[in-house]
Amino acid sequence: MASNAAVPFWRAAGMTYITYSNICANLVRNCLKEPYKTEALAREKVHFSISKWTDGKPEKPNDV
């Protein structure tokens, strides 16, 4: 059995399957017709807030 069968080009470039799959999904969403495109992009929006911690205390968070 081949232990290292031909890896896909994205794996060889250091990308994981999840990254590859998400890129493909985003590209497909960007090629949709109008009402569906805004629905799809709105559905996939992610909100997160990042806060750096120093000396055991969080600083003010940045929202994304």
Partner: protein, 200 residues
């Protein structure tokens, strides 16, 4: 001591012979038998609580003759497109090429590439463009297709596809690092698959 060792060795061998392959498992149990026994030993008067295993439907067993219909579950992260729908055939865009799945297909796990999934039921064919995903075909003629994004073909905008294809072809020629080249290549693959779906 040696006599006990031979007894201990005999048990795992028996267990291995009794359950050779996971695809041949009989219909899974609906209640967790060992948990129920242990519960009754400690608390005989109360009913044991239901475990998650008892809420799950058991896997339908592999019938001895090939069933006439394939049961398809097609799910997306945000919706379940087809849930246990009985169809005649599905064609999935596997990385190894378009694969047709009929009832009685051998158990397979296929990684999907961007392409068209077509579901054939009687005379009607429903097509979806899938961005990528996996198809699990079980021995009992159940097929699970999972995709991140799937759109019916009439929702694709041809001009955006052409624009994307041109943009990524240009990005590939100007890409420097491996990662940029890979991303540009992915863009080209997806857009050319979209293109051939619209024109072909």
């Amino acid at each position: 001591m040696l006599r006990r060792a031979s007894g201990l060795l005999a048990r795992p061998i028996l267990a291995a012979r009794a359950r050779p392959f996971s695809t041949d498992l009989p219909a899974a149990q609906t209640a967790d038998a060992t948990f129920v026994e242990a519960w009754k030993k400690v608390i005989p008067n109360m009913d044991p609580p239901k475990t998650p295993l008892s809420f799950m439907q058991p896997r339908p067993p592999t019938p001895s003759s090939i069933p006439s219909k394939l049961t398809v579950n097609f799910v997306l992260p945000y919706a379940s497109e087809l849930a246990t729908k009985e169809v005649d055939m599905v064609i999935v865009p596997a990385t190894t090429g378009q694969m047709g799945v009929l009832p009685g297909h051998v158990a397979t796990i296929a990684e999907l590439k961007p392409g068209v999934l077509s579901v054939h039921e009687g005379n009607e064919v429903t097509k979806y463009f899938i961005s990528s995903g996996f198809a699990f075909i079980h021995a009992n003629s159940f097929a699970d297709v999972i995709a991140v994004e799937a759109v019916p073909l009439d929702r694709i905008d041809a001009s955006l596809v052409q624009k994307g294809l041109a943009e990524f072809t240009q990005k590939l020629s100007s890409a420097t690092t491996d990662l940029e080249k890979a991303e540009a290549q992915i863009g080209i693959d997806v857009h050319s698959a979209l293109n051939s779906t619209l024109t072909g």
